[in-house]
Every structure is written in C-alpha cells, then in structure tokens.
Amino acid sequence: MNGVHDMGGMQGFGPIEIDQGYAPFHSDWERRVHGVLCIFAINGYFNFDDSRYAIERMGNAEYLTTPYYEHWLAGLEIVAIEKGVLTKEEIEARKEELREKGEPLYG
C-alpha cells in the first residue's frame, strides 16, 4: 500500500540525527515490545510479513508522530487481534486493572 512507511525519495524530513554506540532500547517498555513480538512470531502465530503489513495499517499520521517501538507495539496489537489470540476489549480491561493497581510495571 502507498503508505508513509514507503519513504524512499521523500523530501523534507530534515537532517539525520546520528546516535553513536550500541543502545538498541531506551526503556523497559521497548525491551518488552521487542522480546514479546519476536517470541510471538517464533512461536508461529504470525510472521514478519504480517507484522510489517500491520504496521503499515497503523495510520500515516500516527506512524510519523510516534517513535519506532510504538510502530511495533501497534503492529503487535493488530496481529494479536487479527489472529484471534486477544481481543481489543481484554487488552483495554487489563490496562485498566494495571493502571488501578498502580504498581511499577517493569524493573
């Protein structure tokens, strides 16, 4: 699909912000998104083509205004729902439970 993910040759994104060193994750939620998505795929519930296509459908405006691992998170949620493993309702319900508990989520 002709989404904004297909960026080759677009103009106007400005200079490249070059980061040095090997620091693949910047917070625990990014670590968990990466690990969960990979294992969900390794365990055979979907493949990387499915998750790439899911990311392409997260919405152009949202894609451009969110960091990289939010793309993965959106893709993970879309495939989990499309493959019939989770429902949107149970994800939202669990989020509310976690919010009310108010305990540290990670670390």
Binding site: G8, N43, G44
Partner: protein, 125 residues
C-alpha cells in the same frame, strides 16, 4: 496452526538457527543475468516490497538470488507462492531523472511477480 513454545533454554539456539525464507517451485527463473527488465507500475492495497520509487523503472538483472517465499502473498494470507528473486541494478538517472549528476546506482531484490513479462517492448514505448 501448530504452535511452538519457546523457553529460555531454547532461545539462543533458536535465534542462532534463524528462519527459512526460501521455497521451491517447479518452474525455473524466467529471466537471466544481464537481462534488461522493467518493474510493474502497480499500487496494490496490500503489503508489497516494491518501493514506489522503483515502480515502472528499467534495470538490469545482476544476480539470480534463488527462490523465496513471496512476502506480498504471505501477508495477504494467500500462501507462500515461492518465486525467484533477482538482484536488479537501476541507474540513478532512471530513478531520479537525467539531471542526477553522478554515475551512481541502486540495487533492489525484486520478486519475479514485480517484473513485466515484456520488458523490452514496454521500455521502447
């Protein structure tokens, strides 16, 4: 779907083994190294690995990469449809216009499905 259950103990070996991307089909590759080819000008609503900037462009087949699972088909839940991938080299002038001032080029891995069956005729239009 038969599912796997990765444990901590298996993780490193499974990572090191990787996934299988290749497949087989009875028909051989349609194009050969050195052929001039044109990519299709197509805009599917589904997933595709042919970037917009390389659609409807003429390039040269530089290498036959083997037969691979077709990403577009798998993402559309239409099966693996294994087919040849060719490494195709495009001149920068073909992609970005004749005013591009250097002798630069770009390589893409092109599924056979992305190529016109009659590249030369189309190229001469």
């Amino acid at each position: 779907m038969a599912n796997f259950y990765l444990t901590k103990e298996m993780a490193w070996d499974v990572f090191k083994t990787g996934a299988v991307h290749r497949g087989e089909r009875s028909e051989g590759p349609r194009f050969k190294v050195g052929d001039l080819v044109r990519t299709k000008n197509q805009h599917p609503m589904g997933h595709t690995r042919l970037p917009r900037y390389a659609r409807g462009k003429v390039g040269t087949i530089e290498r036959y990469q083997g037969c691979f699972i077709f990403a577009d088909s798998r993402a559309a839940l239409k099966g693996d449809d294994p087919q040849p991938i060719y490494r195709v080299r495009f001149k920068h002038q073909e992609l970005w216009g004749n005013s591009y001032p250097y002798k630069d080029s770009l390589s893409l891995d092109i599924y056979e499905d992305y190529l016109e069956p009659d590249p030369i005729e189309r190229a001469e239009i």
